[in-house]
């Protein structure tokens, strides 16, 4: 059993409960014990780095200090924006103190984007070993969004223009990952609230391209992307007269499906665009669990 520090982030307690539940379940079966940072706080998100730079560093830094008390070498962060802000806070410290090594025992844990953590060879093997029903015949596009990749001097992502972590996981599960050009194109994030005209346009562009490349579903690792593509899809359909019907599925949910976990039905039932009809049609689900 491996112990890892876990920073869920605010939305996994609320809007992204489906993501949170699937992560907990899948990690337990992968022999990864998630230890939540005690009393963690919001990372400040886009709001802080937009109008209050100091807070955008100080807020994640409090989490890093708390994370250190757990003493694990690895820290898993499912939300790419949280991941990015935590990494930025570390980067900021290194800029300020370029020469000083942190004293022994006071190093920060290695901060992992959850999808990248799952896409290491060792973890892929583990994922493969538990597959009960390969997801043959399911064609999906992997959509990574921005913050797990960019900017590379913060994220450390080696393949930031063409990330592959989700594609590797999809392939391991037996589904077909389609290569498409909008893997890392922005979904507009909170613009969908503050500038809906622009935000909806950005989501529409992504959905159009996914359709054009023959995707039957979109696999994601970011709850912000998931929310924008899933919750606003019917509105874009109503506004434009286009039809998508594209389920937006978390990679952890997809793992649960291939592992035939009874809980998977519950996670998927929380989506706006119901993935179940597609999965039933493909014979990839035994019915609502």
């Amino acid at each position: 059993m491996m112990k890892a520090t876990y920073y869920p982030g605010c939305s996994l307690e609320g809007v992204a409960r489906d993501y949170a539940d699937s992560i907990k379940c899948v990690c337990a079966l992968m022999d990864v014990e998630l230890q939540e940072i005690p009393d963690w706080n919001c990372c400040g998100a886009t709001a802080a780095h937009s109008i209050n730079r100091r807070a955008s560093i100080e807020l994640p830094r409090r989490n890093l200090r708390l994370a250190r008390t757990l003493g694990n070498p690895d820290m898993l962060v499912p939300c790419p924006l949280c991941f990015n802000r935590l990494k930025t806070a570390v980067h900021d410290l290194e800029l300020r103190n370029p020469c000083s090594e942190p004293p022994q025992g006071l190093e920060f844990p290695k901060i992992w984007d959850l999808a990248a953590f799952f896409a290491t060879d060792e973890k892929l093997e583990k994922i493969a070993s538990r597959v009960q029903k390969r997801l043959e015949g399911l064609s999906v596009v992997s959509y990574y969004g921005c913050m797990a990749s960019r900017p590379p001097y913060i994220t450390g992502a080696p393949d930031y223009e063409n990330p592959l972590s989700l594609d590797k996981i999809v392939k391991t599960l037996g589904a077909t990952p389609i290569d498409w050009p909008y893997k890392t194109d922005c979904c507009g994030a909170s613009l969908i609230v503050s500038m809906p005209g622009a935000g909806l346009k950005m989501v529409e562009k992504l959905l159009d391209m996914a359709r054009r490349f023959g995707a039957e579903a979109v696999v994601v690792s970011c709850q912000m992307c998931q929310g924008n593509l899933d919750m606003y899809q019917d509105r874009i359909e109503a506004d434009t007269g286009k039809h998508y019907g594209l389920p937006i599925i978390y990679f952890t949910e997809l793992i649960g499906l291939a592992w035939r976990l009874a809980e998977a039905g519950g996670w998927l039932s929380r989506h706006f665009i119901d993935p179940v009809p597609l999965l039933l049609r493909k014979g990839l689900m035994a019915g609502r669990g």
Binding site: A16, I51, G188, S190, M195, A198
Partner: protein, 214 residues
Amino acid sequence: MAEEARLVGSSYGAENAEMVRQPVLSPDFDFLYKVEASGPFNASHCFQCRKCTNGCPVSFAMDIFPDRIIRLAILGQTAEVLNSRTIWICASCETCSTRCPNGVRIAELMDYFKELAVEAGIRPALPAVAVFYRTFLDNLKLTGRVFEAGLLPTYWVRSRQVVSMFKSGEMRKNVEQAVKLFMKKRLSALPGAVRGRGEIRSILRSSRPHGRSQ
């Protein structure tokens, strides 16, 4: 000075005759030094290749393209930069900073300009965006984590959109969405509280930029 900058800035490329009659630029050449002293932004490294603008997914909603924002900053056209929609519509997707061959941190500069605009008491060209960010940070002061059920309603009230949203039917769509989320147990009615929220409050208070932001 703002008015002059606006006149000249908005006529680039177009009315040459007008520019000859309006030769007074009042460039604030100290602006670039101020920018460069404020962070590792590398604004002066820009050689106008436009890679930033070419990759920008929000350029369609901008009044001044990112490469021009950088150029205007170098030319000391402070008012043009700080009054632009561009700095507020930027989605912080970091494509520009990632692809810039000269290491100009364009997205980070957009943040810096937003903060400068707030400090200078300039009314944001896109007030809704500014109000959303402020509401988000105020929301954090309550409990130290985002209280999702409270965020959007507070934002609609503070951005004075409630009436227009009712009229346009936008409110109905949003309420339907919220109800659906609630039914799916994805929206909790109560915020989760951080024990150290006093600390969070002091982080947000002590570093709060002064000046009005709307």
